[in-house]
Every structure is written in structure tokens, then in C-alpha cells.
């Protein structure tokens, strides 16, 4: 009943493929997420099923947010994975987050696939991490084995960063399938940065 009709979906080919909940239609248990303004299309879509919001957001926050691993490293993983997966929403959004996390313009371009990784990342460990993201995102065992062998990080780091790749892939699929829209702020910033 709250679904978009086939006609609505076809009429707005660039728009989201589900109705995004706004502050006025936010269900009782998720209203707090809308109190500070637009919570973004991931929350605005999840709010269609309020009971998903409670468990999902802390999970995403734990995996994608600040932790014992520096944000620069985590954003390498999120942006690279999103670019490999061809997710426009996550690539655009995390291009901005990556720049704000200390990655350079050239590094960001390389992670987005506009430059070879070797051109922007002289550190062999960074390049091994990027290769690990590529291998895990594509999911081909023949690539995963040598990529794991090239990683020099400890097991705890491998576990957390691999879960980060996998969670990013999940979000990439979600955002791409539902055609979640990039926010105007992000679009403006990408224009400014010529990205």
C-alpha cells in the first residue's frame, strides 16, 4: 500500500525506487532520526520498516564508523569497494568522507578508478589493502588467495577490514538497487573538487 506504483517508478527513472520517508511520515519509533533534519536516504528508506532501523544503524555505525583502525584506512576500503561495485551513491558520498578523512585528491581519484592505484599509493601496504578490497568485492577465490598472502596486517585487522568490505558491498547493492539519491551537498562538493 505504501509502495510506489509501476508508473511512478518509470516516470522518475533517476529517482529512488521506493518512497523515502520524511519527517512527517516517520514512524513513532524512528522519529528521533529525523529530528535533526534529513537523515539521508539509507535511514529514510529503512524507516519504511521501523523495526529494521534499531538494529541496523548501530551495526553500520560499528562497522563503518570510528574504531581502533584509523578512518583513513577504513575510507580507503569503503571508497575502493564502492567504486569496484559501481555504486554511484556510496562512491559519491564516500568520496567526500574520504577527502575529509585525510586522503588526497590524487588518492581519491585512484580509489575511484580514475588513476592506477600504484600512481597514488607508493606504500606497498596500502596497495595490498586495495588489492584485498578488489578481490573480496569481486569474490573470486583465485584472486582472494594471493591478495590475502600479500597482506602484512594482523588477523584482527584482516577480520575488521574484511567485514568492512562485505558490509560496504551489502550497502552498495542496497543503494544501487533502490537508486538512492546523492545529497545536494555531496553533489556540490564533488563539483567543487572536480570529481
Amino acid at each position: 500500500m505504501s509502495e510506489m506504483t509501476e508508473r511512478e517508478i518509470l516516470r522518475a527513472p533517476g529517482g529512488p525506487r521506493v518512497r523515502l520517508i520524511d519527517a512527517d511520515s516517520a514512524p513513532l519509533l524512528v522519529r528521533d532520526h529525523f529530528a535533526g533534519g534529513d537523515p539521508g536516504p539509507i535511514v529514510a528508506s529503512l524507516a519504511q520498516v521501523p523495526e529494521l532501523v534499531g538494529p541496523t544503524l548501530p551495526f553500520l555505525g560499528t562497522v563503518l564508523g570510528p574504531s581502533w583502525i584509523p578512518m583513513r584506512e577504513k575510507e580507503i576500503v569503503i571508497l575502493r569497494t564502492s567504486a569496484v561495485m559501481g555504486c554511484r551513491y556510496c562512491t559519491d558520498t564516500h568520496t567526500v568522507v574520504a577527502l575529509d578523512s585525510g586522503l588526497s585528491h590524487t588518492e581519491v581519484r585512484a580509489l575511484r578508478g580514475d588513476l592506477p592505484a600504484a600512481a597514488a599509493f607508493p606504500d606497498v601496504d596500502d596497495r595490498a589493502l586495495i588489492a584485498w578490497c578488489d578481490a573480496v568485492a569481486f569474490g573470486v577465490e583465485a584472486d582472494i588467495r594471493p591478495a590475502r598472502a600479500a597482506l602484512t596486517i594482523d588477523d584482527a585487522r584482516v577480520v575488521e577490514l574484511t567485514l568492512l568490505v562485505a558490509t560496504t558491498v551489502m550497502l552498495n547493492r542496497y543503494a544501487t538497487a533502490l537508486a538512492l539519491p546523492t545529497s545536494p551537498d555531496v553533489r556540490d562538493r564533488l563539483l567543487q573538487e572536480a570529481l
Binding site: 500500500m1 505504501s2 518512497r19 520517508i21 516517520a26 514512524p27 513513532l28 519509533l29 523495526e51
Partner: protein, 275 residues
């Protein structure tokens, strides 16, 4: 006592679980909260599910069931289902009262011995004014149905939905329901709520969730805060008072409701007489 039983005992949460049996209706009233009508999607709860929910609700401490819609009596097996449901918990059915032809009344007869009450809508003592809001011949059908149902031993309540300015006609309406055999205690009067078709038609009073007494309400679309919550506007379900899409086990929406109740400001009781 469970948290649910405590909340019910403290009157924080209604003891009745409402079930939206369906969303379609033979009428299309101008203030209908659910934009019901003959052509809308039916979105029925199937009878077996409704019976299961009644058993589950009883086991959890709810003490009454309410059936609403849409027009519940468009569900073909409703009279027989009501007999089964009422063997579990007392049932109140909201109906427009226009479908009680002889054949349906014959099937209703066994309900005279069951714990089933019907609440029939009647808005105005003047047939023309009433029918403008509720549709042609509505008045006549209702005033015929009420005595017929009472004659079968089925208790009947009358529900009146008032737009501002209609209150002066209320004494005449009260005379009418008394004449029909319905006492003052069984006459429910409430304002038009500014939701659904009423909102599109610029009618009614706006209600916050705090104005709506919390009564767990289940529909084909999920669990809601009150029977006034699963409204529809311009074909889109209102989600502002949605608790959860998951309705079973009943503990899931009950937990969501108790969480909302826990966050309710103290003394935030209803002021709009919506029941």
C-alpha cells in the same frame, strides 16, 4: 504481572486488539480515514490469522478484540468468523450497517448468544444530511438494521462522527438512537479526524499521537498505534503511527508499543475525545 498486563492495568494501553479485516467498503464516505471504497485494494487479514491472533492476544493479557476496516461485513465468512472469535474473547465490530439484508441477518442469528457487539455509524438525525456524508440510502438502511439486530439479541452501539457545527443536531440524534433501542451509554460521539480522505477534503481536527488512545492495531500492512492510525491519503498508507511491519509473534509489536509508551511525556493524555 507482565509489563503488558501492568500497562493495561494502569490504563496506559488499551485492553483491546484491533484487527483491520479488510480495507474495501461498499460506501466511500467523504471523511473516511482509510479512503475506503468499492474499488480499493482489499488488503484482508485472513480469517485463520485473525483467529490465531485472538488466541495469542488472550494468552498475553488482552481481554477484547475489535474488528474494523473497510466494511468488515464484505468479508464473506465474517458472521461465522465472529462466532469463533467470540469464543476466545469478546468482540466489537465496527460496521456501516448497510449490508444487513435478510440473508445476512439469518447468518447473524447465532451471534445473539455470543459475545459480539456491533458498532454502527450514524452521523445525523436528518436522512439527507447524513447521506451526503455517508452515501445514498445509508440512513434508511441503518435505521432498519439496528432494530433487526437488536431483535436477534445482538447488542448495538451507535457511533457518530461529528464535523464542527453539527453538535446542535446531537439531541435529535440521541432521541433517534433511543427510539431505535440504543441507550445513551451505547452512543459514541467523536470528531472527524484530519487524516485520510478528511484531510484531502480539508475536514476535521488534527490529532497528535498523544491524542489517540494507544490500542494495538494490526492490518495487512503492519502494526499501528491505534485504530485511527493505519490511514490512507491519496492512495498512500500513512506511516507516522506505524509501530512495525512485523505483526507476529504479537510480542514484537507489543514491545514496540511499550517502548513508545515508555517515551511518552507524563500526563500527555488525550484531549480530543477520540475513542
Amino acid at each position: 504481572m507482565t509489563t503488558l498486563a501492568e500497562a493495561i492495568a494502569a490504563d496506559q494501553l488499551g485492553d483491546r486488539v484491533w484487527l483491520y479485516s479488510n480495507y474495501h467498503c461498499n460506501l466511500a464516505c467523504s471523511y473516511c480515514l482509510t479512503e475506503s471504497g468499492p474499488k480499493v485494494e482489499r488488503r484482508e487479514l485472513d480469517p485463520a490469522t485473525m483467529l490465531d491472533i485472538a488466541h495469542e492476544a488472550k494468552g498475553m493479557g488482552f481481554t477484547r478484540i475489535g474488528i474494523t476496516g473497510g466494511e468488515p461485513f464484505l468479508v464473506p465468512e465474517l458472521p461465522e468468523m465472529l462466532l469463533e472469535l467470540s469464543a476466545v474473547l469478546p468482540v466489537l465490530v465496527l460496521t456501516n450497517g448497510t449490508l444487513f439484508q435478510r440473508s445476512l441477518l439469518e447468518r447473524m442469528a447465532p451471534l445473539g448468544a455470543a459475545d459480539v457487539t456491533l458498532q454502527i455509524s450514524l452521523d445525523h438525525p436528518d436522512p439527507v444530511t447524513n447521506d451526503v456524508m455517508r452515501g445514498p440510502a445509508n440512513f434508511r438502511k441503518v435505521v432498519e438494521a439496528v432494530p433487526a439486530l437488536l431483535g436477534l439479541g445482538i447488542p448495538v452501539r451507535i457511533a457518530t462522527t461529528l464535523e464542527d457545527g453539527d453538535a446542535e443536531d446531537l439531541p435529535r440524534l440521541c432521541m433517534l438512537h433511543r427510539e431505535l433501542g440504543v441507550g445513551d451509554d451505547d452512543h459514541v460521539v467523536r470528531p472527524i479526524l484530519r487524516r485520510g480522505r478528511a484531510e484531502s477534503g480539508d475536514m476535521g481536527v488534527r490529532a497528535r499521537y498523544l491524542d489517540l488512545p494507544p490500542e494495538l492495531t494490526l492490518t495487512a500492512d503492519g502494526a499501528f498505534w491505534s485504530p485511527f492510525a493505519p490511514t490512507v491519503r491519496q492512495g498512500v498508507l500513512d506511516t507516522d503511527l506505524l509501530l512495525s511491519r512485523t505483526t507476529r509473534p504479537l510480542q514484537r509489536p507489543v514491545d514496540a508499543m511499550l517502548t513508545v509508551l515508555g517515551g511518552r511525556p507524563a500526563g500527555a493524555d488525550s484531549t480530543l475525545n477520540i475513542r
